[in-house]
Amino acid sequence: MKISVTVTLKKDVLDPQGKVVKQTLKNMGYANIEDVRQGKYFEIELKENDKANATKIIEEISKKLLTNTVIENYTINYK
């Protein structure tokens, strides 16, 4: 089973890289960009066919390793 996890900084955490990307886009002429937040993306291949079991494992590794839950959120995407 292929699952991806997107990790983003929580709303109230400053994202200086996102800010720079946003400013650069504005400088490039994209005046209607309102906000950019930079994150991380993981593609995980799991030996598991049951979606509920897979979710349980992915939730666990997302909390234990892929994110620092103090500052980051994650979303799980199924392919």
């Binding site: 109230d12 955490v13 400053l14 890289q17 390793l65 892929l66 620092n68 103090v70």
Partner: protein
């Protein structure tokens, strides 16, 4: 007093801190990250550097290494733990210290001397700073922007768990002397029991009057007092 310096792939201040410890007659051992048991130690030091190339998040991979469980156990039993720079990042990733260390606000790697105000001296690491509470130590980091939500910052302030804050040469803690954007200018914090200290500046680099100065020595001499 016995210490262990933990060496990870990518540590680069491990030997500096070992020299500092030995200078103050602390009997030190280097411990490779793949060991599972900690030699008998009063103090564990997590040194600066770029453990595991800063992959995923700074300090993150080191916080899952084989030696870590014995360090967590040591810390929870009240044993002394000192994390400097990358060591501080590792302590936060293990959960031994709260908060997070984000990228520096201005996105630049900072390598310079900064003034620090020693905020609380009532702990094993800082007691000798009573007579000298404005010091100058070097910082060298890219992710030193200490972040905590308002509850955490309030708790750290109220419970006197902040060891160092960035300040000006007069000891005034102000926004302009904050190099990396840390909440409340925080440069180093202690855990609730005050046996674990994490700090971004490098005390081990200032232990020699000829080479650098001795503002860092005071931390090591404090440790010797029991």
């Amino acid at each position: 007093m016995k210490s262990s310096v933990i060496v990870f792939p990518g540590s680069n201040c491990d030997r500096d801190v070992a020299i500092a410890l030995e200078k103050f007659q602390i009997k030190n051992q280097m411990v490779w990250h793949n060991e599972t048991t900690l030699p008998k130690s009063d103090l564990v030091v997590l040194p600066g550097g770029f453990s595991y190339g800063d992959y995923l998040r700074t300090g993150c991979i080191a916080s899952k290494s084989k030696i870590i469980n014995s360090i967590i156990e040591h810390g929870k039993k009240g044993g002394l733990v000192l994390g400097i720079c990358n060591g501080f990042q590792i302590l936060i990733e293990t959960g031994l210290l709260p908060g997070a260390l984000l990228r520096n606000k201005k996105l630049k790697f900072l390598s310079k001397n900064v003034f620090l105000k020693v905020i609380n001296t009532d702990n094993r690491f800082c007691s000798n700073y009573k007579n000298k509470d404005i010091i100058k130590l070097p910082i060298a980091h890219n992710e030193g922007n200490f972040f905590g939500n308002s509850d955490l910052i309030k708790k750290l302030e109220d419970k006197k768990l902040i060891a160092f804050k960035y300040c000006n040469d007069q000891g005034k803690v102000e926004k302009i002397s904050n190099p990396n954007g840390s909440s409340n200018n925080i440069a180093g914090i202690l855990n609730d029991k005050k046996n674990i200290l994490g700090m971004m500046p490098h005390p081990e680099r200032l232990i020699d009057p000829i080479l650098s100065g001795e503002d860092g020595s005071i931390l090591f001499t404090s440790l010797l007092k029991s």
